[in-house]
Symmetry: C3
Subunit: 412 residues, 3 copies
């Protein structure tokens, strides 16, 4: 944990150029009263050459996206777009010509000022949901519904938790781009998102989304810190979402699995086919599976989604110490309504926090304490590369037979 | 319906100048990342002369109207102001020196970011209500209250519908001005407003608000399309509102009427005087009448509001196939609280959707299906012109005696 | 009351330069479509010299404070920052090196567009609470909870009042700076905030926050006017908040007191020590005391907060006719959670309006009627100055023994 604080220190300091960084550019800063409308940097850095890359900050206009800040990163092979205005979510991801993300019926990058999380019985989050990666949390995530909290009078009171919490609709307070001076000249997008209130959580998220020029992979590393004086519950779930062409009829989800539990009776009826995907199916009702992943003995695990042909896949590597629970969301609905599946590592499953607490899956942070979580994403092109991932996952699974529960947890 | 799709096609295409249009200017476009701060075009077009006209796009500043986009159209006789930021509502309408709209106690053009539709028990819409024409809809309109919907788990869940729905507080995503190259050089303001969400409606509104230079009339033509993959309910009501000088003591509402039903017991007590208006009356409680209009045998109907002197009137012509139900809202309150009456053609009456559904007045759109609605507005100056409208309405009424219900529908 | 209307008239008129004012600058105006991004004026005025002073309008950037307008006033001895975007609240106050305000865990000046007052069971106001002075009101203030109102159908309906009402999150519609031409060249920041809706309150707040160059004091004068046609309840409470270094262990609250009633049982247990402060105490639960202040025979009263050493204090002078009730809020929590006390003159105590109405503490304004309230704030440096205030307070108290209630009012 010492290392994390060092990282945080570096980001908070204000040198024009940090040693070891060829570029260091503040794009947004509450502390320095900065918001850069547009900016770009292109590479390669230095005479030695290397992959062409670019980082472009721009501002969106029109409709519900007026004033939204975006940062487009192109490392020469991968392109992704970070949205500071929407909690440092990653809007889109593509590899060459292939979109790795999905197409949501929400077609604009909706400014949080148009989101009322409480609308539609606590489902207002869905008015803006179209990211490839959106964090759910931090005070809570998961399904809406009533939970208790301690109010300003020290009494237990009720509040209606809203779907997936606030963090995805809070604009980042500090955002910067840094490019390492040393090869491989890693490109780093960093941001801080504050979920703070009086008489409530003081949770701080620092994220670094980074990639190497020319690489097929990138990394999201987050640190959540409790800046309050009392211990604080939190929930963090990475809602990463995939559509065509990666997702199609015959796509398969690959993971080393100890146990799979359906979220509800509806999902239970299809548990035998939980890793397999149908094509677009109008009227399809979402199926959610709660997975306890196995690890490699060093707390590392690996999951993947492959297309039917087995020549295109995405993989996620992470630590089960950092993110012990994994949710698979299958929503193979019609394309216009959102043909999509979610691969979602988290500190918890997406039940209402009241239920997660009952099952002991709501972690707490002591005052000043941090929780780190990091996910390595890679895109695999070609049968050989995809088979390599599949073999690695099979090796972690080994001889262990997954337990497939035929019914959901008893929740209430 | 074929024609409608053609219209939609034209608007969605992106030529710099469409054949037959002397001017075609994108003012707002999500797809092209455009928002024009200020712009204007003045006429007449060509050497032949004609009425002086202008179209002016500007941006409002200060208070709750900071950043609101408006488009002011002056055709030489009529002036009206379209508000892209507020769902392509028409803020004001005047003819020469006479205001046709009203004065609301809401004096600013409130940016939707300051509206919380759920506040005040679902009456938050009233925080921004001051338009001459505001659409109510699209998923629902009418009174707040609980209705059911199908949630993301495929279950029936409850949601609290809010007064008059969302569409009036959604900023337009695409807005353009077009001027016909050919005489009479019609001026057209077009806009698209999206009421879209994940696990919810995907309703799209395209509107064209158009007028001829020098004319006493203009037209609002809307197309609502279901962009989802499943059939979708919708409700659309045009809340057009009139105050002094058109509305005063002795003003009269003229319409060919099959049946009039009071919305509640309070309105029932005054049904005998439903088309007649009092002067400003502090403490007046609104009276709402639900009207089934007659038509001319070709589905066209015509309603009007005349001042007491009978020398100034506004008329609305529309199809009862497109807009079968008509609501008359009488709110002859004190001037500072809002002395106003609403003439409101719609697909439904403004009860809560739960009640409208029970009475079979909530239409559905199949996937990809559109509903078109068009209203021709005209201002009538002078006794002769007003009497002409009155005669036309009387001709539609003919010998048919209106049914005036003495009590409201049994709703629950 | 005649004088007040004169004041209002002056502010509403639009001369470029009002007689007697050396500077008159509109910074924000809905009526003139103005919002000045940045502006400053520095003094002294005229050849005679005097204290250096400045008034600076600027705009905040980044995170939740993007687009927030602030006005920083430095009179040469005192510095304070007015926030037009947040209802003309006063964000901070400092005297020389000493901060008189506090440090909230809410670290940004949150734009109202990010505040949902209804969130967290009606506690959403706390997402933006970090001002030195924030008004609570105007339709209601105090604790959240259900109260009745008359809806658009003339029926009694329920609404969920939210903590401390709306006024602190409504942007000002008219803002100007005026500097008197005559010595002492008083600096005046004026603003109008409208709490208006259709079928609801039409309450208007005009405030003038003014100070003299070189002075240790400044004045907040407000006029609340009912612009509707019917009588209207209102509640106005000045939530002024103090932290380190003025507040520390051993600080003392000084006031001439007729009666002190604890807000709840928790506060009741510590009533004997109500004017004394602890140091930062993690887990401290707020204690609120409802005070009926004594006055000097001419309706004027005076309260103060002194540090332990007795060499730094703030005092508030006001009329008990204008602000008859005084609330003391003790929240000596840990510093990161908010170590703070509130000195809060008001028209009422901060119970839910339903309870205040029951006890006859919710005033009404007739149509067109205004309520004026003015508070003189002074900073006292040095033991002599602080003792002077203490003596003055003691003189008002005289021989009257305060009644300290051992239990709260019976509320329901």
């Amino acid at each position: 944990m010492k290392l994390l604080y060092l990282f945080a220190f570096v980001v908070l300091s204000k040198p024009a150029l940090f040693a070891g960084e060829a570029t260091r550019k503040k794009l947004i800063s509450v502390s320095e009263n900065i918001r850069v409308e547009a900016w770009e940097q292109v590479g390669p850095v230095g005479p030695a050459g290397g992959a062409q890359w670019s980082v472009r900050k721009s501002t969106l206009h029109g409709g519900k996206q007026e004033g939204v800040d975006i940062i487009e990163v192109d490392n020469g092979r991968l392109r992704f777009t970070v949205v500071p205005t929407r909690g440092m979510s990653v809007l889109s991801l593509s590899a060459g010509d292939a979109r790795i993300g999905w197409r949501s019926p929400v077609q604009e990058v909706v400014h949080p000022r148009y989101i009322n999380l409480q609308s539609r019985g606590g489902l207002g989050w869905l008015d803006g949901f179209n990211e490839w990666l959106v964090r759910c949390g931090l005070e809570s995530n998961g399904l809406p519904g009533t939970d208790t909290f301690t109010n300003n009078q020290g009494n237990e009171a009720n509040m209606d938790l809203t779907l997936h919490g606030k963090i995805g609709n809070i604009p980042a307070s500090e955002v910067e781009v840094a490019i390492d001076a040393e090869p491989p000249h890693r490109i780093r997008i960093r941001g801080r998102v504050d979920e703070r209130m009086f008489y409530g959580p003081k949770l701080e998220l620092w994220t670094e989304i980074s990639t190497e020029p020319g690489a097929d992979s990138f990394c999201v590393t987050d640190i959540v810190t409790n800046r309050g004086a009392e211990s604080q519950e939190f929930e963090l779930l990475y809602h990463t979402n995939y559509g065509k062409p990666l997702l199609n009829e015959g796509s398969i989800f690959l993971a080393p699995v100890a146990r799979v539990t359906p979220l509800n009776e509806h999902a239970a009826r299809s548990i035998d086919r939980y890793p397999h995907y149908a094509g677009p199916t109008p009227g399809f009702v979402e199926q959610v599976y709660c997975i306890h992943p196995l690890h490699d003995g060093k707390d590392r695990t690996l999951v993947a989604l492959s297309n039917k042909a087995g020549d295109l896949a995405v993989s996620l590597r992470f630590s089960v110490k950092e993110l012990p629970y994994f949710t698979l969301w299958k929503n193979t609905n019609s394309e216009v309504d959102g043909y999509v599946t979610g691969l979602e590592p988290g500190t918890n499953f997406p039940n209402n926090r009241r239920i997660e607490r009952k099952f002991g899956r709501v972690p707490k942070l002591a005052p000043g304490e941090s929780h780190r979580a990091s996910i390595d994403f890679a895109i695999h092109h070609g049968v050989e590369s995809v088979q390599g991932v599949a073999k690695e996952i099979a090796a972690i699974q080994g001889q262990i037979k997954p337990v497939l529960d035929s019914s959901p947890e008893k929740k209430d």
